[in-house]
Structures are given as structure tokens and as C-alpha cells.
Symmetry: D3
Subunit: 164 residues, 6 copies
């Protein structure tokens, strides 16, 4: 059985992430959504909040597990006995960084393979940071995220003056 790790910050999870996870579930025996602690990036949502939102969004997939991680990705893959890392590719600039990372990871642990997926067309321009920007300015992001995520965003930005 192949275990595939799908790492990210998921701050918050979007329809693009969810679509990729559900497609991965059909291809791999076990899919581990690896939620990076990402202290340096100062996420909007806490680790627990991010994990909680993913749980609600992917509840229908039996072979998905959600795990936080705070170490080198390749060490996490060893712990999870994963043979595959999954990454979404939206744009050329994604690609370049990902390419660099994949090269480094192959050096660190050659037996783990990085596989890239492209998003469905209607999710190609969705990113967590764009979602947060639109939401923080009072825009409606219902089309791009799960209702639970929308509610969580509204709560975060409720007290704020738009754009503050």
C-alpha cells in the first residue's frame, strides 16, 4: 500500500485543497494531510483550528488522516512510512520553488517521490492568502471555501475595520 503525504499550512483549507485530497484518495491507499506548524509564517488560524477545519472538510474520505508536523518533511515521511509527497501546482512560480524543494528532498531521502497535481480549472486562482485578503476586506468567499471555513473567517475578521 502506498502512503502519500500532502503537506501544507492550510491557513485555511480551500476548495482547491479539498479537491486535491479527494482525488488523491482514489489513487493512494492512505493519504496523510500534514499540517505544518509554520511558526515563522504567523498563520491566521491556530494549529488546532486549522486541523479542525480540515477534519470538517474531508470527513467523507475514509483513507485520510490529518497530522500536524513540526520537523523536516522528510523525517515526517519516514515516521509515516510514506513513499509519496503530493504537491499542487498552480503557477510557474509555484513550480520553481517546488522544483527546488523536490530536488533537495530527493537528496535527503531518495526513496520518497514528489508527485505534482494541477488544480481543477475553477480552483486555479484560489490561494489561502488571496481568500484571507478578500475576506478581510469584507468580500464574499462562499464559492471558494467550505461553509465551516467561511464562518471561521467571518469570526476572525468580525471585530476588524475592513482592510485594517
Amino acid at each position: 500500500m502506498i502512503t502519500a503525504v500532502y503537506p501544507g499550512t492550510f491557513d485555511p483549507i480551500t476548495h482547491g485543497h479539498a479537491d486535491l485530497i479527494s482525488r488523491a484518495c482514489r489513487l493512494f491507499g492512505r493519504v496523510v494531510v500534514a499540517v505544518a506548524v509554520s511558526r515563522g509564517k504567523q498563520p491566521l488560524f491556530t494549529l488546532d483550528e486549522r486541523v479542525g477545519l480540515i477534519e470538517q472538510v474531508v470527513s467523507g474520505c475514509d483513507n485520510v488522516v490529518i497530522r500536524p508536523f513540526d520537523c523536516l518533511l522528510m523525517d515526517f515521511c519516514r515516521q509515516e512510512q510514506a513513499q509519496v509527497i503530493l504537491r499542487g501546482l498552480r503557477a510557474v512560480s509555484d513550480f520553481e520553488y517546488e522544483f527546488q524543494l523536490a530536488g533537495m528532498n530527493r537528496r535527503l531521502r531518495p526513496e520518497v517521490e514528489t508527485l505534482f497535481l494541477t488544480p481543477a480549472e475553477q480552483f486555479g486562482y484560489i490561494s489561502s492568502s488571496l481568500i484571507k485578503e478578500v475576506s478581510s476586506l469584507g468580500g464574499n468567499v462562499a464559492e471558494f471555501v467550505h461553509p465551516a471555513v467561511q464562518a471561521a473567517l467571518n469570526e476572525k475578521y468580525a471585530g476588524r475595520k475592513p482592510g485594517a
Copy 2:
């Protein structure tokens, strides 16, 4: 009559921006230079300073208005009854982000069209951030910005040790 919005931080306005504005004035009935408050980016110039410098630079165009905005761009377009968003494209990396943004904006408000212009060759490598970097290190940016902007930059960086 078509109203075109040209959004940006303009921190500060360069010859590249001014060139794009003057070209837009010949094509559209009304051009709104939309100055983003951009709290998050911590601009060098205050909003008032940025608006003031744009006023001096574009004083010759009758159908230009300058407006600060602190909301979702698509909400601003509705207020201004704009049908067009104008964006300058200098480089591939510009293009990718812009492409993503244009897709999101089309979803939020399909009746507003994003149009891209490329800079005149002599302005292709000018960006506000590069101008500030050069100016902060004591370099001469007279070729790239209006004299009023140059004076404003000199004043900002006057007290600083170069590179500090």
C-alpha cells in the same frame, strides 16, 4: 463612457506609472488612479504624500481623478461605476499573480474586465521598490521619477546613513 480604474500603492509614483496613466487617458473616458492604503505593506510615504505626488505628476490629464481606497477592489469599482481595471505587466512573475487576481476578480464581479498594458521599453525595469532601494543608498533616480518625487525621496532618506 468607459471608466477605467488603475489601482496600486504608488509608493512612490514612477515614470512607468505616469506613462501608463497618460496612455490610458487617450483610450478611456475617465481614468481613476486608485491609491491603496496598504497598511500591511508599511509604505515609505503616507497616503496623503502618495496622493499628493501623483497629483503633481499627472496634472496635465483632464480625465484623471485620484482616489484612495481601503476596501475590496471590486467594491471600489462598483462605487466608481468602472467597467475596466488596468494593470501594468512588466514580467512573468507579475503576470502570474495578476492572472490569479484577475480570475478571482472576475468571479467576484464578472462585468468588470481586467486589461493589461506593457510598459514602454525604457520603463520596463523600473519599480517603486527598486527606486527606493537605489535612492536609500544614495543613488540618483532623476531619470526614473518626476522631480517632485525625487525631492520627496531625498527628504525621506536625508537623515539616514546610506543603506541603514
Copy 3:
């Protein structure tokens, strides 16, 4: 009134082209679809066939005219008294060639402005050449082109062994 020229080979016109034309019609007083003779490229459809298909597809737009051209684009713009060239941007590689062309055209005729539009998300991956490839192999392209274009493609490829 602004006249905008939208040049291409249109071999054949796709939903992506049609979408761009209908959006241009809302922004410019007159839109000239300029059909390049393109002898060098050996189009699948003759000039007359290509013009005929465009006529059927854009019949609903009052301010559109369709014109073949066999000269320098900037000379064609002068004949048509056009101030704007419209180009679709699908990808980074499009962008680079277009950028080069826009620079050259600006040198040849500075008063004509090149404006770029991005396709609607569902048309981003459609190109005339991909349509022809799929159609020549017996694939169904009904989703991507007007029924008249589909019929014309079927007729062209009818006698062929798939892939020949």
C-alpha cells in the same frame, strides 16, 4: 470612438476567442476581428472558411466587423484607424512573445496601444491547435467550439484515418 483590432489566424475560432470578442464589444466602440492570411502556417481552413465561421459565431455583436489582412499589423491598424490592439494571454509563453511583439509594434507606431485580456477560467486551456489535434483523433470538441465549427472540423477530418 475607440476602434480595437483583434488579430489572429482563427483556425478555427474557439469559445475562447468568442468570449474575448464579446467582452471587447462592451468596452470599445468598434471591434475589428482581423483574420491573418497566414500563408506560412498552412492553416487547416481556408481564409474564406475561417471568416465564414467567425461570422456565424459572432453574429450577435453589432459593433464587430471581420476583415482579412495580409500586411503588417500596424499598417492594417492605420487603415482601420484603430487605436488599440487586443491580445489574449493564456500563459507565460504567450506573454513573452506578445511582449516582444508589443515592443516592436510600439516602435513602429507608438500611437497604437496593445491591451491584453486573460481568458475566462473555463477557456484557459483551449487553443485552436489543441482543438484540431483532439478533433483529428476523433475526440469530441463540442464543449470548446460553436456547433458550426464542430461540423466544419468533422467534415475536414471525415475522410482521415484517426491520427493520420
Copy 4:
């Protein structure tokens, strides 16, 4: 069991292709190397020669089959009951075309997923066309292809004046 199709012209197979195939064999139950007839591209090697060279190169992998195809890739995937298409990504320009193709293929057959792999660093700049160019000019390509491929290239170019 997941069947993965790896399509290409393989004119001729390089170490880069072989590396990707051997990695795919560890991840998927069955890997189908799909050799495109590619009449339009006028390959250097005949279909039989290309299939024969692949057979020699991948002889060590039990779960690989080699199949010519001369139809729409998505029709071939249905015949082979494949759930996955594999593609190598070497460069940004690869990526753009691949992205477009993946979008089209998803529309034609949403249940088949396109997965991208990046080459090992030492194969990143190898392409079949570069190999042929170097070999046709008398250069030594022993480092980049299997000995059987090198012998076949030497034979093809034997009678030719270098560069002719």
C-alpha cells in the same frame, strides 16, 4: 490496482525517461509506456525501433508494458483502464503546455488524473531532441542514453556528414 500510462514519442528513450519509468514502477501496480506513433513529427526512429529500444532499456521492470498508440490519449487510457497519466516536468515551458493538456484531458475524461514528476538533477537537461542534435554532430552521448540507444543513434547518423 492503479494503472499509470506514461505517454511519449521516445525518439529515442533517454536515461531521463528510464529513470522516471523505474520510479513509477515502485508506486503503481502497472505502468504502461505508451509510444505515440507521431506521424506528424517525423520521428528519427520507426515505431518498431522505438518500441524495441524501450524494451531493451526497461527489461528489468516486471510491471511495465510497452504499447504503441495512435488515438486520443484519453481513449487509450480507457482501453488500458488507466487511472493515472504520468508526465515528466523539466522546465517552465514544459509546464505550461502540460498544464493546458492536463486541463483538456480532465474535461474529456475527469476520472483520469495527470501526475507530474521532476527528473533527477543529472537528467534535467536531457531531451531526446538535444540528444539527437549532439549525436548528429558526432558528439558522444554515452552518458545520457543506454548503450543500445547509442548504437542505434550511431547507425542512423553513420552515413551522414556531420551536421548535414
Copy 5:
């Protein structure tokens, strides 16, 4: 003394090429303009014509020699005892192919270094193929090429109907 080879088809030489050569002459002891025979590309100008035009254009540089070549570039470098290959970089797509080529060349001959230069801004969008396209359609290319090149282009295209 460092010998630098600047290879190309030069069909025909443009102001962009000439600018790069004159800058190279200030940096390297000897600059070899290597004119590829390029049989496969079917150049507009014969090898003798291309060499002749380069001679007229670069006549002012003492340390430049012009040499045709019809072999592997790295073999030519050995013959010329060159340590450096010079390449102009105009665009991202240039860059990718060049990157691939530089990697291959380094493998074939590690002691030769590939150095890239970017064109002066006013030459960034000039390419030989664009020059030929404009000239074949009756456009004026006086700004982009030497008068001798312009005369040669006019002669080549004199008998032709524009665009034929």
C-alpha cells in the same frame, strides 16, 4: 588571454547582436563570432551573406574574428581554444533552452564556461525572425539593423508580394 565564442545563426545580424559583440570586445581578449551553417533552419541568407553582413557591422572591433562552423559547438570551442561561450538572454523562454544547453555543454566539456548577457533595453524585443517578418511585410526596420542589413533585406524581399 580569454577567448570567447559567440555562436548564432545571425540571419541577419541585428543591432542587438552588434551591441553584445561590442560589449564582449571590452571584456575578453578575443571574441569569435561563430556563424552556424544551420542547414536545418533554412536561413534566409546564405552563409556567405551572413558572414559578409557581420563583417560590415563589426568592422570597428579589432579583437573580433568571424568564423562559420558546422560541427558540435564544444568541438568548435576546442579548435578555437575558447574558455567562454557567450549567449544573449532576452526572455524567460530563451533562458530555459539556454539553461538546458549550458548543462549539456558543461557535461561535454566542463572547462568551457557559458556566460549570459542581457540586451540593452532598446534591443530587448528585437530578434532576427521578427525583423524578417516585419521586413517581408514591407515594414521599416532601419531602427533595428545596420544599413547594409536593411539593404540586403530589401533586396531579398523585393520581388515578393508582401506577406507571400
Copy 6:
């Protein structure tokens, strides 16, 4: 004699940087490694530490000098009487920023030429920031940096909880 300046933050120096320096030493009479103070970027290593590590790494090259700088690069080039700036190009995104910078620098000081080198294949995905990220998470970077740099990284991250 040609003096070439190789500017960077070198936080810390990697095998990729060292490889580029040793290649530059064979081509230019004098190579100045210019270590940017980079106050704004908050480097991990102090200026003295960065200079010290470079000294250990490049000790074998006679014609290399190491100099900190805290001014406009073009002013530094004048002080050093340099005719060349050297830059490594790893990726398209590098290229775009570099292109912009090279254009600006040419305007500020046309007699200084920017030359780009591509890294050896095995260093293409190494960057100082990736090295620091891997090292901070307890990964082994022995393959990518000099032992002295590895020791310095270990010391910096010794007290830290992985990933903190």
C-alpha cells in the same frame, strides 16, 4: 586586467556559491566577493561571520578578495574599478529580478557589464535560505556546504527546539 564583482548576502556561503567563485577565478584577473551588509534582511550570521566563512571556503583561490559593502552596488564597482558584475541564475524567477536589476545598473553605470552563470547541475536547487530551513529542522546539510559552514549552522541552531 578585468575585475569582476560577485555580490551577495552569503548567509551562509554554499557549494553553489563556491563553485561559481572558482569558475570565475579562471576567467577574470581579479574576483571580488562583495558581501552585502543586508541590514533589512536580518541575516542569520553577522557580517564578520559571513566574511569569515567565505575566507575558509575560498582559501585556495589566489585572485579572490572578500569585501563587505554597504552602499549602491554600482558605487562599490567604481571603488573596485570593476568592469563586470557576476550573478548566478538558478531559476526563471531569479532571472526576472536579475534582469530588472541589470537594466537599472546599466542605466546607472553603463560601462559595467552584468554576466550571468548557471550553476552546476548538482547545485541547482541549493539556496542559502533552503539550507537554513533544513538545518534549523535538524536536517543534514553536509552535502551542500563546507564543513566549517555546517559547524557554524549547527552552533546557531544548537539551542533551538527543531522548527522553532
